[in-house]
Amino acid sequence: MNGSSATPGGGAAPADGRATPGGGAPTPLVALRDVSFGYEDGPRVLDGLGFEVHEGRALALLGRNGSGKTTLMRLLTGGLRPRSGRVELEGRPVSYDRAGLTRLRSAVQLVVQDPDDQLFAASVAQDVSFGPLNLGLPEEEVRARVDEALAALDITGLGERPTHLLSYGQRKRAAVAGAVAMRPRVLVLDEPTAGLDPDGQERLLATLEALRRGGTTVMMATHDVDLALRWADDVALLTPTGVRAGPAGELLARAEALREAGLRMPWGVAVGAVLRGRDGGAGAGFVPRTAEELARWAAEEGRA
């Protein structure tokens, strides 16, 4: 099963044939069907796009500046309404009345790139409580969710701190907590690692991993191909002609696909190719995800 379907324009429908419990093609959790969108007095940003997010698969969305990643994510989460086409949640089209939007938003949550665009309240716990309160939950339940979200992001101690005294990394975590408190089935993050140092990136990835283990499907937009190769099960490349999706290791190894999306070659792919070429067997199939992994592997190989 692939992470997202190909668009009419995009071609390439890889099949890695993951068996699903029920057999047959599984219903994606959320999907865009033939969606077109353009901002007021602007040209079309997305045109006849098809896009699927499948349960349990970590999905990275890649593309140039201005290719429409943020736009796509806002369409997925109900922040924007498609000009034509439709958004589907578990196979059922989403309606844009209050009930429909509530259904979509309690299932799919967006974390925007700049945490300051999401934190409005004077303290972290207050901000996190905003979403659950809008769901109409009773106060106790809200309180429990806030505590849970703060714990998930490892910022329990920051609950009562004024938002404006937090560091960038802390604000980022607070913003993610605001989305996590909605207990979404899909968490959508717009360039979550931008501006974080390597340590901070590592910690955030570990948090996302924990959320995934807890059953949340995670999707992110990023410019970092190395990160995408390392983290994602599937990738989706957004190009002017549409979206091209497939398993990360496969799609990110295709030079022509990368070129079309304006991406660099990931290091892991290049190294994998070298290892394969050189000893024709010993290293074949090994695609290191981080430089550290490569170094460790080499050390073991050397010893062996």
């Binding site: 007021e40 007095d41 806002r74 924007l80 844009y96």
Partner: protein, 278 residues
């Protein structure tokens, strides 16, 4: 400069609260109605309040003394209308009192009256008047800021003189004293604020004509910026799901305004403000 905490006798403090209350309540009504009709405008109004707060924290150059901050009430009144400014100004004053200890809680009423009621209304009145008389936008804006600033300080002097009449000269004597200490030294400051406001509006006319038009400030025609139906509550974006305040070129205005939107009002004081190269 606001009257500090504890400066006014209790009776005066209460009286000024009573005096400003109707204006603030009126503003609150307007604001509540606005928010009910356009739920998105909460964020825009908050942004306007923050803008006024920040404006009043800018340091003006060239004026000696530690308290050379603009009041921002003139520009606020032009952009957001006096009733809304009465509320936003009250919020600003409350924050200043609680966060910076500028002004105070018991003197809040007096400060609101001078800075969030009289200043904006006077400035706005002059602004409409100037426009009706065919003045250029820049001139009208300068007058608005100048008058708003100056009237604020005049009122402050009156408030102090009422509270502390001169033992010999009585109220008038005290007014003279406070007036000369506060209001008169404020004249250069008021001129500065007028100039700053003109500069700001001129830049905004070039970069955000769309936003200004939406707020009811016409940058297009150099003369007589329309008496077009006062939409009263300035902050209405036809915000549909998400597009929010996206860049709206409002192309009708920008080009027409061009380089010389004016500032002849102040050329004698600020040499070379007009020398911004394009």
């Amino acid at each position: 400069m606001h009257i500090a905490e504890g400066f006014l006798p209790p009776a005066h403090a209460i009286a000024w609260v009573a005096a400003s209350a109707p204006f603030v309540v009126h503003g609150v009504r307007q604001l509540t109605r606005e928010v009910r009709e356009h739920p998105e405008s909460t964020l825009l109004l908050g942004a306007s309040g923050a803008f006024m707060f920040v404006l009043s924290a800018l340091k003006l150059p060239s004026v000696t003394g530690s308290c050379s901050h603009p009041t921002g009430s003139g520009l606020g009144a032009v952009l957001f209308r006096p009733p809304v400014v009465a509320v936003l100004g009250t919020v600003t004053l409350l924050f200043q009192a609680l966060l910076l200890a500028h002004g105070g809680l018991t003197t809040l009423g007096a400060n609101v009256f001078s800075m969030a009621v009289v200043g904006p209304w006077a400035g706005y009145g002059v602004y409409r008047l100037a426009l009706r008389c065919g003045a250029r936008l820049a001139v009208a804006v300068f007058c608005a800021a100048f008058v708003a600033d100056l009237s604020t300080y005049c009122v402050t002097s009156v408030q102090l003189a009422l509270a502390f009449p001169d033992p010999v000269g009585g109220f008038l004597g005290a007014l003279g004293k406070f007036g000369s200490i506060f209001a008169v030294t404020q004249i250069p400051l008021a001129v500065s604020e007028g100039l700053l406001t003109v500069l700001v509006v001129r830049l905004l006319a070039q970069s955000s004509a769309g936003e200004l038009a939406r707020l009811g400030v016409r940058t297009g025609g150099l003369r007589k910026a329309g008496t077009e139906a006062e939409t009263e509550n300035g902050t209405d974006t036809g915000a549909e799901a998400g597009t929010g305040t996206g860049p709206d070129t409002g192309a009708e205005a920008g080009t027409g305004t061009g380089p010389e939107t004016g500032a002849e009002a102040g050329t004698e004081t600020a040499t070379g403000t007009g020398a911004v190269a394009r």
